[in-house]
């Protein structure tokens, strides 16, 4: 039980710190042009990494399961220019269907 509370306290400390570092160190100031070019490019690789790890990673293992079916449905919806809410629902439906039949 103690280890639970130690874990919570420790995670509060590290999470708050990690989220505060960027705004504290760089907040409210104008950055040199090269830094701006790098920061603008942070979103595509971070989003891609989140998409792929949320879909294909299970701990340290790479697997293809129902989440992949959901992502494939979502990709189809994006290509058909469906609104984001529809895309997300289609993904959930695809994953649920894949689980139901597997």
């Amino acid at each position: 039980v103690t280890s639970v509370w130690v874990t919570i306290g420790g995670l509060v400390a590290t999470t708050v710190t990690i989220k505060a570092v960027g705004p504290l160190a760089l907040g409210g100031r104008d950055l040199p042009p090269w830094a701006g070019r790098v920061i603008v490019l942070l979103a595509p690789p971070l989003l891609t990494a989140l998409v792929l790890t949320d879909t294909f990673a299970r701990g340290r293992h790479l697997t293809v399961d129902a989440r992949a079916a959901g992502l494939a449905c979502a990709a189809g919806a994006v290509l058909l220019r469906a609104p984001p809410l529809v895309t997300v629902l289609v993904a959930a439906g695809g994953a649920a269907a894949a689980r139901a039949i597997s």
Binding site: L24, A25, G27, P44, P45, L46, A49, T87, A95
Partner: protein, 214 residues
């Protein structure tokens, strides 16, 4: 206040998914932590992946240091996210640090797409409904326990990758963004088998360094 409305509207949409994820955290955490600790954890840590990760370590018999390390690595992506958000967060240091706490995946991903750079109001507005949804969802999960359906059966674990895909897709029309995305995805997949969860996503952000070439 009108400046926060688009963010609030988007955030209310995500709050439902956040509520369900929070409930599933409550269900998973209760046997290990009891009733109070999971809710306290959601209220003060407010980072889903880290909470799940740390709980899995403790449930497997790991000690607190290992659980903290696992959760911290899962949160490491908030470092580059905070750097990207920093230019939009003005005011005194304490205020900047506090506003930085609003960084969660879905809100950040919305806010980073602003045409005039990072959109502070979108970030804060979108996180505001998600916070109570996360804490309340955890409480409901703790109380209702196994009475709740398994979220995976409803396909809810496919919601977040699909959402990130909808935000990513419009970015890919630019050649340099596409190159950074492909490089970042390759880094994340290649490192997943060899590093603890969380670090591959953090290191994928290094793909943005291709922007150093003018």
């Amino acid at each position: 206040l009108t400046a926060y409305r688009p963010g609030l509207r988007a955030g209310v949409g995500f709050a439902l998914a956040t509520f369900v994820l929070g409930a599933s955290f409550g269900v998973v955490a209760k046997p290990l932590m009891g009733s109070v600790a999971p809710i306290v954890m959601s209220a003060f840590v407010f980072a889903g992946a880290a909470q799940f990760g740390a709980t899995v370590v403790l449930a497997a018999g790991g000690d607190a240091a290992t659980a903290i390390a696992a959760g911290t690595m899962l949160n490491a992506r908030f470092l580059p996210m905070g750097i990207a958000a920093a230019s939009a967060l003005r005011g005194r240091a304490l205020r900047r640090a506090l506003e930085g706490q609003a960084i969660v995946d879905a809100s950040w991903a919305l806010a980073v797409r602003g045409e005039r750079g990072f959109d502070r109001e979108l970030l804060l507005g979108a996180t505001l409904p998600q916070y109570p949804a996360w804490v309340l969802g955890t409480a409901v999960g703790v109380l209702a326990g196994d009475a709740l359906a398994n979220p995976a059966r409803l396909g809810l674990d496919a919601i977040f990758p699909a959402f990130f895909l909808t935000l990513l897709a419009p970015e890919l029309t630019q050649r340099r963004a596409l190159a950074a995305a492909l490089l970042g995805g390759a880094i994340a997949l290649a490192l997943t088998p060899v590093l603890p969860p969380g670090l591959p996503v953090l290191l994928a952000s290094a793909a943005a360094l291709i922007g150093l070439r003018a």
